[in-house]
């Protein structure tokens, strides 16, 4: 939950990330840019879980990589604990890296197959020169293995001897080794079998409670994000189109894209939930050449001429959600497209009549360049 009064751990302001498209082998000419992230602003409070959802190519993974500074932004700034990430260098950056860790999607390619699990999990200690004694380091690693539900006796095994779920636990152990303040999990369960997903999700939640972690959780699965996150940002073609506390977003989405995403989720209950679904037509346009103004207007069922001329600002809408839309969904439209159980929510639209403090920041900055 967003605690009022505290300062955000992460502040993202007007961040863009453009990847150049080049042509030619020796003299590479720049012929365009993929606008993977294009003017994104949000805050994350300490201890909060922020979810980022969206379809393939919406820029959610790029955003994650920007936050942990695996990539540098093209413009804009990201502050972590008050310090601007782009300005931090050398030793200081190394120290800062201890506080932010990442869990990757694919537990098969993110672990070095030639290293033993003990050395994979202990690698952060080596890099940062911690727990130098052999016995000490091994004990620490085994503690970590125990903590994430791995058998400490498997210290000397190789990654291929573990199942997908166990490998993801190895990734989690490595990420929490340095007791970070923030964990960025990029699709941490989408490569796992259904019966294993819940194990890893429960582990992440338990660790977050114990360690007071701030979690940024990126996924394309709306049900998983709802389960895990206090607040959710929906991205479309490099922009945040809606950001709101989970309870608000899932019961009273205002952006037609959010509504369409939710209506598209298959609900495992054949009775009573057959909804009048409005399916989106077509595919996500190319981020190299996004539509003008509101990027969703090419697929939006509510689009009007103004949508292709004027970029809508992210602003608080009725019900407490913050969305970038000229024609936000009405309550009736929400009711007709969402799963039954969601529309009959205990959280009445009136409860959060003003936007929460943290998302207010997001409203102030959405005037980005529209191509």
């Amino acid at each position: 939950m967003t605690a009022a009064g505290t300062t955000p751990l992460i502040e993202v302001r007007d961040v863009t990330k453009h990847f150049p498209i080049t042509r030619g082998v020796i003299f590479q000419r720049r012929i365009g840019a993929v606008k993977a992230v294009d003017g994104v602003s949000f805050d994350v409070m300490p201890g909060e879980t922020l979810g980022i959802v969206g379809e393939t190519g919406c820029g959610k993974s790029t955003t994650a990589r920007l936050i942990v500074r695996l990539l540098d932004p093209t413009s804009g700034e990201i502050r972590f604990d008050g310090r601007e990430l782009a300005a931090v260098k050398g030793e200081e950056l190394k120290r800062l890296r201890r506080e932010m860790q990442m869990i990757f999607q694919d537990p098969y390619s993110s672990l070095n197959p030639r290293r033993r699990v003990g050395s994979i999990i202990g690698e952060p200690f080596v890099i940062h020169g911690l727990h130098k004694g052999q016995g000490e380091r091994k004990r620490r690693v085994q503690d970590l293995m125990d903590r994430v539900g791995l058998n400490p006796e498997h210290y000397n095994r190789y990654p291929h001897e573990f199942s997908g779920g166990q490998r993801q636990r190895i990734g989690v152990a490595r990420a929490i080794a340095l007791e970070p303040k923030m964990l960025v999990a990029d699709e941490p369960v989408s490569a796992l079998d259904v019966s294993i997903q819940a194990q890893v999700l429960n582990l992440l939640q338990a660790l977050q409670r114990e360690m007071g972690l701030t979690l940024i959780f990126i996924a394309h699965d709306l049900s998983v994000v709802r389960h895990m996150c206090d607040r959710v940002a929906v991205m479309y073609l490099g922009k945040i189109v809606e950001i709101a506390p989970s309870d608000v977003l899932y019961h009273a989405p205002r952006h037609p894209y959010t509504g369409a995403l939710m209506a598209a989720v298959p609900v495992p209950d054949p009775t009573g939930t057959k909804r009048e679904r409005q399916l989106l037509t077509g595919d996500v346009p190319s981020p190299a050449n996004p539509p003008s103004a509101c990027r969703f207007h090419t697929r939006c069922p509510k689009a009007q001429p103004v949508c292709s001329e004027q970029d809508p600002a992210l602003e608080a809408k009725r019900g407490g959600s913050v969305a970038a839309c000229h024609f936000p969904l009405t309550d009736d439209e929400v009711a007709s497209s969402l799963p039954l159980a969601l529309t009959k929510s205990p959280v009445a639209a009136g409860r959060t009549d003003q936007a929460p403090s943290s998302s207010a920041a997001a409203t102030s900055s959405s005037s980005s360049d529209s191509t």
């Binding site: 259904v194 294993i196 009775t271």
Partner: protein, 375 residues
């Protein structure tokens, strides 16, 4: 009840590997009727894909052993010679795969790949085949098919590639379409489009569909009947309504309770299934699910349960040694938010043999055939 289109009886498929014999499919029986959709649900390694690949003879090989029968249109597909099976494959039975990018040949135009499928089974001119290809692209909702037919797969988006794959499967108007995880690689909005397309095509063309998936949400949307597979066997089989309203097998409960759902209040704890799927080389003794089952009793480690119909719903079969009334009580508890740990005592009460709880009919009938496990 009409004659089933495909009737699979006691199908067994095993692969000889360097590590031992993999029992991928272990005595599976199901039927698919004309115009209906069967959903096969299971995790990786449950044998769901192998059983349907076998329908098309795609698992045949020197180190594969296939037993049982698969009767389709009066012929047993298991016994059919390769040459004859070839005439069935892609003609009467067609298949679409999970990853549309790797199933389309990157060097050939989409249209040519469709034309090739037409020419493989029909004696028609190339221009007629091309006309058919365009017609099919239009049928599956690809805009501007005249132009698209001459494009390469990389010029198609993920959703369009899957549409093209569906078009290719429909080339010869199959009676049965097997869709193996058709939407897993796609985004939710595109997934919804593809499922709607399959539903619509089924109505228009009257074909039967077998859809294989790990996603219970997907089968709830599209299937008439559902088979839940675990470790090479069908552990529960029922209509879609029944599976969701009164599931009987602890594994099905596990699947239903371990996924976050949009239609359940937020904050409800997920109940994971402990452990992981078993090795298909060294399978557990007794009930294959017993190492992961929260309600396991001593005898479940020895007795191998067979799928038996429920007394009140003969179409609903389940392979579980718990007494039916115990299962009903446990599911009621789970559905109201209790955890398996809180309900475990119900299972032992059921098998204690108290005069009141008549030990399950299924349980007693199975007591005598002890597990011939491990083999």
């Amino acid at each position: 009840m009409s004659e089933p289109l495909l009737s699979v009886e006691q199908l067994r498929v095993s692969f000889e590997t360097d590590d031992g014999i993999v029992h991928a499919v272990d005595g599976v029986s199901y039927q698919v009727e004309i115009g209906k959709t069967l959903g096969i649900v299971g995790e990786s390694g449950s044998g769901k894909s192998v059983s349907s690949l076998t329908t098309l003879g795609l698992t045949r090989g020197p180190r594969t052993r296939i037993d049982g029968r698969m009767v389709f249109g009066g012929r047993d597909l298991v016994a059919l010679p390769d040459a004859e099976l070839r005439r069935v494959r892609g003609n009467e039975i067609a298949m679409i795969f999970q990853d549309p990018l790797s199933s389309l040949h990157p060097f050939y135009r989409v249209g040519w790949q469709l034309i090739e499928a037409v020419l493989a089974h029909r004696k028609v001119s190339k221009s007629a085949a091309r006309a058919r290809a365009i017609e099919l692209l239009e049928l599956v909702g690809i805009p501007d098919p005249q132009r698209r037919v001459d494009q390469y797969p990389h010029e198609f988006s993920g959703g369009m590639r899957q549409r093209a794959m569906i078009a290719m499967a429909l080339v010869n108007e199959p009676q049965l379409l097997i869709a193996d995880e058709p939407t897993t690689a796609l985004d939710v909005t595109v997934q919804a489009q593809i499922l709607a397309l399959l539903n619509d095509l089924q109505k228009r063309l009257g074909m039967a569909i077998i859809i294989i998936t790990h996603d219970l949400g997907v089968v709830a949307e599209i299937a008439d009947e559902i088979a839940v597979m675990y470790a090479g066997r069908i552990v529960e089989y029922a209509t879609t309504q029944e599976i969701f309203s009164s599931p009987q097998h602890p594994y099905t409960w596990g699947l239903l309770r371990s996924i976050p759902r949009l239609d359940i209040p937020r904050g409800e704890e997920l109940v994971p299934i402990a452990g992981r799927p078993p090795s298909l080389i060294n399978r557990p003794s007794g009930c294959y699910f017993h190492p992961r089952c929260p309600y396991v009793q001593d005898e479940h480690r020895r007795i191998d349960p067979q799928r038996e119909p429920l007394a009140d719903a003969p179409g609903h079969t389940v392979a579980c040694l718990l007494a039916p009334e115990v299962r009903t009580r446990i599911w009621r508890g789970l559905a109201s938010g209790q955890t398996p740990a809180e309900l475990r005592h119900l299972a032992s009460a059921g098998s204690a043999g108290s005069p009141l709880s008549t030990t399950s009919a299924a349980g007693t009938s199975q007591r005598d055939r002890l597990a011939n496990s491990g083999e």
